[in-house]
Amino acid sequence: MAASCDSFVLLLFLLFVSAQAVDRSNFKTCDQSSFCKRQRELKPGQSPYRALLDTLELSDSRLTLQLINDNNKVRLLLELYRLQGNMTRVKINELKPIKPRYEVPDVLISDPITEALSVVSQDDNSLVLSLGGNEQRLIVSAQPFRLDIIEGPQVLMSLNSRGLLAFEHLRVRKDTNSESEETTGQQKEEQQTSEDGQIKEEEEEEKPGMWEETFKSHSDSKPNGPSSISLDFSLPGVEHVYGIPEHADTLRLKSTENSDPYRLYNLDVFQYELHNPMALYGAVPVLISHSTERTMGIFWLNAAETWVDISSNSPDTVSSDAPQTNVRWVSESGIIDVFIMLGPKPADVFTQYASLTGTQSFPPLSALAYHQCRWNYNDQEDVKAVDQGFDEHDIPYDFIWLDIEHADGKRYFTWDPIKFPTPKDMLKGLMDKRRKLVAIVDPHIRVDSGYRIHNEIRSKNFYVKNKDGGDYEGWCWPGNSGYPDFTNPEMRAWWASMFAYDQYEGSMENQYIWNDMNEPSVFNGPEVTMHKDAVHGVWEHRDVHNLYGLYVQKATSEGLIQRSGGVERPFVLTRAFFAGSQRYGAVWTGDNAAEWGHLKISIPMCLSLGLVGISFCGADVGGFFKHPSAELLVRWYQAGAYQPFFRAHAHIDTPRREPWLFGPENTALIREAVRQRYALLPNWYQLFYNAHNTGQPVMRPLWVEYPAEVTTFSIEDEYLIGKDLLVHPVTDEGATGVTAYLPGKGEVWYDVHSLQKHDGDQSLYIPVTMSSIPVFQRGGSIICRKERVRRSSSCMENDPYTLYVALNSQGFAEGELYIDDFHTFNYQKSKQFIHRRLSFSNNSLTSRNLAPDAQFSTESWIERIVVIGGSRPSSVSLINADGVESALEFEFSSNPAVLTVRKPSVSAAADWTVVLR
């Protein structure tokens, strides 16, 4: 840390951050988290729960019945819903909790649409419900209680089949006083009837950590006592499960039988380690299962600290059993609220999940371009010099980013008066280059009576409270800080209003926002986050923890929408996230390091996020901590250019690493990688439009498109962008080749650089040099590019397209082209866009309107058509919308077979056909 840094920050670093370096002990293991320990001690066996079938109530779409724990006689209420789109919702809460338990709001986009549920049959010990078509049934077994979802003769999923349903009911502390007798009267009554049960309950009471818990020097007062919940799911026939990000781990989830469970608890982990189940910055409690037969999902809607245990019995361990994966979820508080998404195809699961939590926000085009970030660009002159550096070296970029040092004493919404005295001049300078800026706004607010934001939050009583009712304070970048209660809608509305141009002084329309540290990070808090007994309105932080980051990004992104009067699409990057965060912007994988392992892990980390709805994902290019070698930096640019969120970032203590600082050769390699990104922006834009409309991920594991090919199930060193581009980035030091698996029997793939053709269903060794980025286009697809790469994406808005038509073995190909103004909501509000289907068959390429009711005019035209894998035509002609035919010039090369049609010069918005004869 340099002397120029605030000595205050230095202190913080020494006290808290440096102390954490490579220190796992700052984060809890399951054993150190008392509810996890209690729950994990419970082993599979006979469930003490019994369904009271006589309490059954069935309305059109909702079925309820009571469950009783035969040990302690506490009753639970089970609710079952059949949801539109082949989903089942299972809710379990206490029948009569002594106080309400938290149910996660604001994550579902609306009340899910239910469908009628009917009882097919019933006997003494079971109930069979119809889940609609496909012979799907839900069987409720009374004793022991379990749920089975079956299709025909096949069990798709069982709940509580291993008896791990455990629901810690709220109770009054035994050592307080006898008032409790009345409040738990009903339970007591029932306990009288069973001596056994009462004893059991008392045993529970004895367990340590129920009423308070200490971790390191931090104590958690737990005024509500034990409140954890748990439920197990069995997936017969399933050997592959994915999802539950964020973990720095493999794409395919591992068995946790010999390790801690996967943990979901948003944490600011300093210098995180690879390949372990520790919690990271974000949490999406969605698990996807996949087999050749079926893809399903489990969405465990709970925002408290959560642990997920995964075990399997594969055929080789237990010879007679079919393969099966068991999943057990444990959360510290709240209720059991599970959405079972029954697929059956991967795309169905994505659609189902999107119908619950919404789809990826549609970013402005520029956000999909290249971002240049560093902690920190020191001052306006530095920003200007870096901006000029990109032009001097002819490397495109759209966004330059400012980290925490830009603000006056880490007071967000302000500018350092010496380093950034005239932010509007700076923003104007960038605007003149058609470029943009992102400034950081973190949710910790400096406690400082001279700081307007703080004063307003305090006077409006918007801060999170500590357990004693005062404003919660913790240490973060500015020193002593308050944390606005983002769970409060009034607070969020106020926060959003702070982004208005007249509130946020010095801001302009080409400035966007980055929310960091929103786990929330509290340097002196337990596990570097907020105390669980802090209070948000009537709820404990314990209940809402994993949701906090989502709310921060939501409020910020609403602020950006509002400041433009609802016209402009926002762009907000967040580090912490939850289910539903996809609606508010982009996510990055946090503070990684300049190591090859971190480059590699960026692929499964973003793939995992994509599977659970968050498509706009990226990792810090170059690695945040440490200093990358030139080779690593180049390889990271090459990989990052083909990941959704493409941003270089670096820690303040690392040497500068703008792309031109590693010698002319490396500058050229980086330039080329960034240019490839820009050329493909039309494709990225169309895929994000698609993700926004359908919920299908942009970056996909191979198995999503080739669900029957078992080989693809564990692949995580290559992936698909959409369904048509296969990327196998080079992620090994000194690599001279990579082995890519090209999926699909009967499929053909074309190397996008050489246009050489390769058959699918094979592993292909590809020799690589430093300039190689192995990318393949699927035969049968049409990819639109803009090959006039300019200094920013805005400069390319009106440029013409080149269509890459890659033929499959049947001589067919199709693709889409989507165009709008690239930055407003007009595509939505007034249907101002162009969406066209491009299809090639019978030697004709046709552009057809997919959205006849939409209107948009574009200056873009088709400058070139490249048909790959066809034969030489004797003539090529264009038939325009009026049916007028004109000849086109073309070139053909036979090895590889590439036809280049010169200058059709037809508008990208028009109907046309190009005929090869």
Binding site: A2, A3, R434, T654, R790, S907
Partner: protein, 529 residues
Amino acid sequence: MTCVHLLLTLVFAVSLGTPVEVHRPRGVPLSKKPFYEENKPFTCLDGSKTILFDQVNDDYCDCKGGSDEPGTAACPNGKFHCTNAGYKPTFIPSSRINDGICDCCDTTDEYNSGAKCENTCKELGRKEREVLQKMAEITKEGFLLKQQLIEEAKKGRGEKQSKVTEMQDNKKQLEEKVEALRTVKETAEQPEREAKERHLKAWEEQKAAIRLVKDKAKMAEAFLELDDNADGLVSVSELQSHAELDSDTDGTLSEAEAKGLMGGVEQVDTATFESVWENIKDKYHSESQPEEPAPVETPVDEVKEPVVDNESEPYPEDISEEEDEDDDDDDEYHEEDEKAPPTMKTPEKSQEDEEAMPPYEADTQVLIEAAQKARDDFEEAEKALREMDDQIRNIEKELSFDFGPNAEFTYLYSQCYELSTSEYIYRLCPFNRVSQKPKFGGSETNLGTWGSWSGPENNKYLSMKYEHGTGCWQGPNRSTTVKLTCGKETMLTSTSEPSRCEYLMEFITPAVCQEPSNIDLSAHGHTEL
């Protein structure tokens, strides 16, 4: 859709101030005009292809090298030529044509984008000329100053060299003087030592006599104690009562053992007891007095010295070095001071119960004083010699620095230049070190000590590198690069920290001013600036 573009454009080229209309395709420099012959097939400049002239600047890239589209953005590797009449002509990448951003000062790059560009070439040209003029003036004056600096350095160097020579002579004399004084000292120390030894010996003898008397008294006392039956004789059995005299350490004094101590006889009288006493006095415990501790003379002496050493160890050397504010400090070691204390050996004061040594007699005292004076004189001379050595070393060190091809940087040596920013005062002491001190309290940070010249190969004297400053948290040691530019004055003009813990300073000095004739004053100067 902008498929059809204006193919040819009228541009003005400046030739001796007279505008001449030259017909050529848009974006083609005058020098390449011959390759673009109107209405004749165009051959790509890379020879890859020949196309119709209609296809030049038709917004479609036909040539791999991009030469068919000098005036459109169609070719990814194309170059567009801005004439920039009134300023410098330049090439821009084709991708900047019609991108909505004004790049050419003559606005020719934005002919179809709707960007509102103003022709700023005249203004730029004027400004550039002004800057060049100013630069030329500065360079001229600076170069003159540089000549003076070179002269001064030459003179200074000569002076220093002769001073060193002179000092070398003086040093020789001093060395002789030291040697002479050493002889004087040694001569004076000889009688001193002898007198001291005599004195000591006399005292030792005196002490021995006293000890003998004491021993006798003790013996008599022991005899009385041993002679339990007061028969004037000490018998074997009487001796056996003193078990401490046991010689085989079995805890008892056997009769045989006692007899042995008695010299083989049964009993002794006071006279013969003398020989017995010699055998037993070391172990004998008086019956009346408590056990005396064994004399521990030597250990006391041994413990002393390490204690002295520990005290003189300057343990936290690093810290004191950091606080060192004086840059002219020569960093001399203080070894001599450290070693001074142990040289003054005091006489053992081990036998504390003994009387102190009596003062030296007058004639001995005279010898001591004489010797002391000789020692002082010698040490003084030796110190003067050391100082002389230091001075010579310093000058030689200075003379050994690379002060530039003509020693023009000599004047910076042992100077310091400061620059105040909002937070810090930066201090550059050329050829020594760079530091940073907070304006409002706080200790100084070392941003590096002199490393080497680090300019480009053709002129390494354009930048200095200072390295190995205070370490950074999780980072490298601080270092500073100082860029030198020509100026009339010598001053620090800016500091920055472009990368964490890597500082950059800009420093102007006449010492880098080039001969003015190198500066091209014409409007079409080189891209340099």
